[in-house]
Symmetry: C2
Subunit: 412 residues, 2 copies
């Protein structure tokens, strides 16, 4: 008998009919003898509806505390509906809001962080044979104010509950049946991964394979909560996300290929090579609330250096203006940029112990005559920036070079 | 500087635009230097929408505890919206759910009763100059379960808060500008009452002048909270509902004429006049969940008596069947009934000290050749049942006979 936390997102509970399907699924697990805690989001569309009302009432300046009072009602409706659907099926169940559990958070409205979870009530209910249905995304601060964790926070609620209850598994139900070696729309041979490590998942997620909230993965890694991504309405084992325990031997070198076509790059050329220059360049960018992704600076040449970074395409114009000012102040030669770029990354804990992974990547790209514009590496990832038009070709070439292609299925 | 509790119902907060109007009104009171606690209902239509969802999820058998979890979200959204609209106008404000206040109730889900209100937080906020916006209709039981007071319970929340805070006045904003001597659609000369006593208001309300929830009037009477009925969006003093304090001298004998055309009467004739017969007749009616209004039994005749009562017209068929059974068991002569009846009542604390009120009533009806079928009286009310077609005529005749008609206005 296992204790499982199951999280269903807004689309999975988007209609009463879907809530009934979720109830059926939970019932089956219960009949297998598992103890179940279910975490649900607001019905899809509800959060946006409430935000719209709040904007209307406040001239686009919703009061953060009051916005949380409103937004938390979305999940509150879903927990009651799912609990009723369970009871109707003869499954004893009870619902709890974040406040009722009590999921204690800090007081940062709209983006609160969980500090502590009281597991007393939940344990008593589980012991009494009840399924416990908890509102995701919300909590309460020490003063009794309702807080929300920010968008996607229901994943975090699921993981935090699993950690507090020392659950055997936290299952995140989504609209995909697992984590893939890369986007199947680009590479039809992409395979579902049986397993992936937290670190790999973080790199995959931040690089564009948006299956889970990054924060919830960090959280799961920190508290070592086994996390499983599954499809809400299809059968299948999904993908298990766990710690990397002495299994490196069996693992492939690369787990997946991530990519991102939303970026643009900017280079400031001929910057004096003196201490503090990186801060002088990035400080104003950051002050303008522009997030920077890759940063590359090569060794200096004739006492000047080139400094390149990537930003989201939407921020390209703003970043360019900031950089022109900086260039004047620093006496740099010029600012150049390009929005027609794409980032491709290979990710895998296996590369730690395998030399030559990067060269194998570069070789595969060279074979296809794809020029590499920028390179950056971490312990478990190598990212390159290439011309955007080569993106699909590059992903397919790498997927094949690292032997990730699924064997051709019968009938394919 | 007064402390005022203001309650706005679902129609008054039915759209964001109306919520803005309510915020304007509250702001004006605040600028007059009054301390304000606002109680709001769910936006009109929201409660029905939620009930519909609950029925769908539960095959028409909503779990009472879970239904309260859902329904309470309606007011939770409104308090946040109104608070934002106030803050936007520069009026410091804060919202509280029933649980946050803490409005302690019993555990009777969907129809809970308020046991106790903690006024600590509210007093601190008022002292700090904030308007406090409280969710009506909801509370929390001793175990932390969310409860609701049942339909119309927001009025009760307003009165209970006013009692707990010893407020100077509890203002109930509605879609009428006060309590009238009778329905102005029947008698154009009907006048708005400046004042009415709690007892009169109870008799008026239960007799069909549905301005306020009966329960909230009882509550206000019990705790002596001055209650004022006002129009949400029109100016005017409304009607004040208070205790009857030695002002009888100045009061008119009759405050108003109430009427009701939703009733039907049933008579069981020739019942043996023995102890316990009334119970034998009404017991089965009550067991069939049929509510009985007027009951009349006259003195016996030849050891048999006639027993008459009125029920809601929708219950007429069911009551008749029950009564036929009873008649057979008791050996009564026959069961007769009539649905084409109407009840007309004169209400006024003044009649306590004035003899002859009933005879004046009967005289006025006789002058119009209206036959009286049943009579029942209480200390401050005389009700008669007449043929339905005479209803308007009877009300107008009584309104005039008791000198309630407004002087003809210029231009009328």
């Amino acid at each position: 008998m296992a204790l499982i936390v199951q999280k269903f997102g807004g689309t999975s509970v988007g209609t009463v009919e879907r809530i009934q399907q979720v109830a059926e699924k939970v019932k089956k697990f219960r009949e297998n003898g598992d103890d179940i805690v279910v975490v649900v989001s607001a019905m899809s569309g509800e959060t946006n509806r409430l935000i719209e009302l709040a904007k209307q009432a406040s001239d686009d300046q919703p009061v953060p505390r009051e916005l949380d009072v409103m937004l938390s009602t979305g999940e509150q409706v879903t927990i009651a509906l799912l609990t009723m659907a369970l009871v109707r099926r003869g499954v004893p169940a009870v619902s709890y809001t974040g406040n009722q559990v009590r999921i204690l958070t800090d007081s940062a409205h709209n983006k609160a962080r969980i500090l502590q979870i009281d597991d007393q009530k939940l344990r008593a209910d589980l012991k009494a044979g009840r399924v416990v249905v908890v509102a995701g995304f919300q909590g309460v601060d020490e003063h009794g104010n309702i807080t929300t964790l920010g968008r996607g926070g229901s994943d975090t609620t699921g993981v935090a509950l699993a950690a507090a209850l020392k659950a055997d598994e936290c299952q995140i139900y989504t609209d995909v049946d697992g984590v893939y070696t890369t986007d199947p729309r680009v590479v039809p041979q992409a395979q579902r991964l049986e397993k992936i490590t937290f670190e790999e998942m973080l790199e995959m997620a931040s690089l564009g394979s948006k299956v889970l909230q990054i924060r919830s993965v960090e959280f799961a890694g920190k508290y070592n909560v086994p996390l499983r991504v599954l499809h809400s309405f299809k059968e299948g084992p999904g993908t298990l996300i766990t710690l990397d325990e002495e299994e490196t031997m069996e693992q492939p070198i690369i787990s997946g290929i991530a990519f991102n076509r939303d970026e643009a790059k900017l280079t400031i050329r001929g910057v004096p090579d003196i201490p503090g220059v990186a801060f002088k360049i990035l400080g104003p960018v950051s002050a303008a609330n522009i997030e920077v992704d890759m940063i590359v600076q090569n060794v200096a040449h004739d006492n000047t250096t080139d400094f390149t970074f990537t930003v989201h395409r939407n921020d390209y114009q703003a970043a360019q203006q900031v950089l022109e000012n900086t260039a004047r102040e620093l006496g740099a030669r010029e600012v150049i940029g390009d929005i027609k770029i794409a980032k491709v990354s290979i990710v895998g804990v296996g590369m730690r112990s395998h030399a030559g992974v990067a060269s194998r990547m570069f070789e595969a790209l060279a074979k296809e005559n794809i020029n590499i514009q920028m390179i950056s590496t971490s312990e478990i990832k190598v990212s390159v920036v290439i011309e955007e038009k080569y993106l699909e070709l590059a992903v397919r070439a790498l997927h094949s070079a690292f032997e990730l292609d699924a064997p051709a299925r019968q009938g394919d």
